[in-house]
């Protein structure tokens, strides 16, 4: 199945120590890619990754250094997964401007900076590969629908969705062999969702975290949360030659939540 194979490619994953990030590194490696994992920690053990580097996605200079290092060490970059992100669960009234800006810096500026920093190398490496190079940006069902107490998060994920579409169209217009797509997970069983449940309880929306989890799970048509592996499989798919006519698309992996 060469169309689903990533043999010979180099991938960079941001936010690689989180639930979806970890699963993505492993899934990319299993598909044949050499994976460079990055996150805020100085060191980390990420299964599937060939190397780990500290990368703050809001740091413009750090992105340049990172991409230069990858080019010098591996000679190429084929896949960029802009996965790093945070959630904010708070009322609009109680959200400070600083909190808003921090969320936008990580979730939106991080995607912009990563895409821009990697563009030249991705473009050069995409020429000799069917389907070209690939950027996958982590949006969310929160980038498609609003949710109470999630206004800032949803704002940031909506921005990621449209940045992805514009980048896909722009690179196509410029003739650059880089496809850009967004992926939209529903509630995935990760530390981020546990944080959100805790915040729901703190805000008095649910009596306890178990109730929050049960209610959110029931909000998916499949009646359960997704696993990180189920999102990672979608990300890998978008990077493979099998998705060669996909750019500016949204891959929704939400157990039927937004079909309602």
């Amino acid at each position: 199945m060469p169309d689903f194979n990533l043999e010979g490619t180099i991938s960079l994953v941001s936010g690689a120590t989180g639930g979806i990030g970890r699963a993505t590194c492993l899934a990319l490696q299993e598909a044949g890619s050499t994976v460079i994992a990055t996150d805020l920690a100085d060191t980390a053990d990420v299964p599937g990754a060939t190397a780990y580097h500290r990368l703050d996605v809001t740091d413009e200079a750090a992105w340049t250094t990172m991409v230069d290092h990858i080019e010098a060490t591996y000679g190429r970059l084929d896949i960029l997964i802009n996965n790093a992100g945070i959630s904010v669960t708070n009322s609009i009234a109680d959200t400070t401007l600083a909190e808003f800006r921090r969320c936008m810096a990580i979730n939106v500026e991080g995607v912009f900076l990563g895409t821009r920093a990697a563009q030249d190398l991705l473009a050069r490496c995409g020429k000799d590969r069917k389907g070209g190079s690939s950027v996958v940006n982590l949006s969310s069902v929160g980038g498609l629908r609003g949710a109470a107490l999630m206004a800032i998060y949803c704002t940031s994920k909506g921005a990621v969705k449209l940045f992805s579409k514009s980048a896909g169209v722009e690179y196509a217009m410029l003739g650059l062999p880089i496809r850009v797509n967004s992926i939209h997970p529903g509630g995935i069983d990760t530390d981020m969702m546990d944080t959100i449940y805790a915040r729901y309880v703190a805000e008095g929306i649910f009596p306890d975290e178990a109730t929050a989890r049960a209610t959110v799970s029931a909000g998916h048509a499949m009646g359960r949360m997704g696993t990180p592996e189920e999102v990672a499989a979608g990300i890998v798919y978008l990077c493979t030659p099998a998705a060669s006519f996909m750019t500016g698309s949204e891959l929704v992996v939400d157990g039927g939540m937004t079909a309602k």
């Binding site: 199945m1 169209v169 196509a172 979608g234 890998v236 030659p241 079909a259």
Partner: protein
């Protein structure tokens, strides 16, 4: 192991164009692929397809006829006992100004593009439920809609309406099965303009009606596509193969757009 090894798939309109590529891609990934179409079993086209595609069989099926679907279901139940993948691919085109469209032509298009999806889903559901209980990601229905099920285009109203119907039928059945605990995922695929005989025929009809040439119309479509080319049928087939696999186990009611950036603008 190939990702669809041991699965049984049925593709409506599976002999030509996108359907042919879907059949090929599913078979390449290991699925025993039942190609269905209008052609007689002993026709040259069927013989050629079965020679080219490993692990395929052919069932003559007029997807607009409920009796044909029931007969196919009985044949599959007897020979395989279950079904894992149903691709409701069969479809036709129709263009023209609203005021010039004939009700008969409208109804015929709805029959081919929408009734067939309903009938395939309704009749095959029991076999798909049986198949879905055997795989971690359940069984899969993939309905071929179009970017024309997402955005409108002048003189394409009937086709737009039919593909929009497929999009929402997909979501409704996805929810219905999930709510009832039936292990069938249902998703739609939305191709842009694909290099197929149907696209060519549509352009020729448009040119005959409005003037110009089919080649000019194809060129205009290519110019309007960010990727500056048509899709190849295999690029749709591979998307279907992904949605059919356990890799898509958390996807139901989703729409996968494969349009070279057309609707991203």
């Amino acid at each position: 192991m190939r990702r669809l090894e041991g699965r049984v798939a049925l593709v409506s309109g599976g002999l030509r164009g996108i359907g042919r590529a879907i059949s090929t891609c599913l078979a390449e990934d290991g699925a025993c692929t039942l190609i269905t179409d209008l052609d007689p079993v002993d026709s040259a086209e069927v013989g050629e397809a079965l020679r080219t595609i490993d692990n395929a069989a052919y069932i003559r099926l007029d997807a607009t006829q409920e009796d044909d679907w029931i007969a196919a279901r009985e044949e599959i139940a007897r020979d395989y006992g279950h079904l894992d993948i149903l691709v409701n691919n069969v479809g036709s085109g129709l263009t023209g100004k609203v005021q010039d469209l004939l009700l008969d032509d409208w109804r015929r298009l709805m029959t081919i593009n929408v009734d067939t999806v309903f009938l395939g889903t309704k009749i095959m559901q029991p076999l798909l439920a049986t198949g879905g209980a055997r795989a971690s990601g359940g069984s899969a229905i993939i309905n071929i809609s179009s970017i024309m099920g997402l955005v409108g285009m002048g003189e394409t109203s009937a086709y737009n309406a039919s593909k929009g119907a497929v999009r929402l039928f997909t979501k409704a059945t996805a929810l219905e099965f999930a709510d009832a605990g039936v292990p069938i995922r249902v998703n739609s695929v939305h191709p842009g303009f694909v290099d197929t005989p149907l696209t060519q025929k549509g352009m020729e009809e448009w040119a005959a009606r409005e003037g110009g040439t089919a080649a000019d119309l194809v060129r205009a479509v290519i110019d309007a596509t960010p990727f500056k080319r048509l899709a190849q049928p295999r690029e749709i087939g591979k998307v279907v193969a992904f949605l059919a696999s356990d890799d898509a186990s958390y996807m139901t009611g989703s729409e996968v757009v494969v349009d070279g950036g057309w609707t991203a603008r």
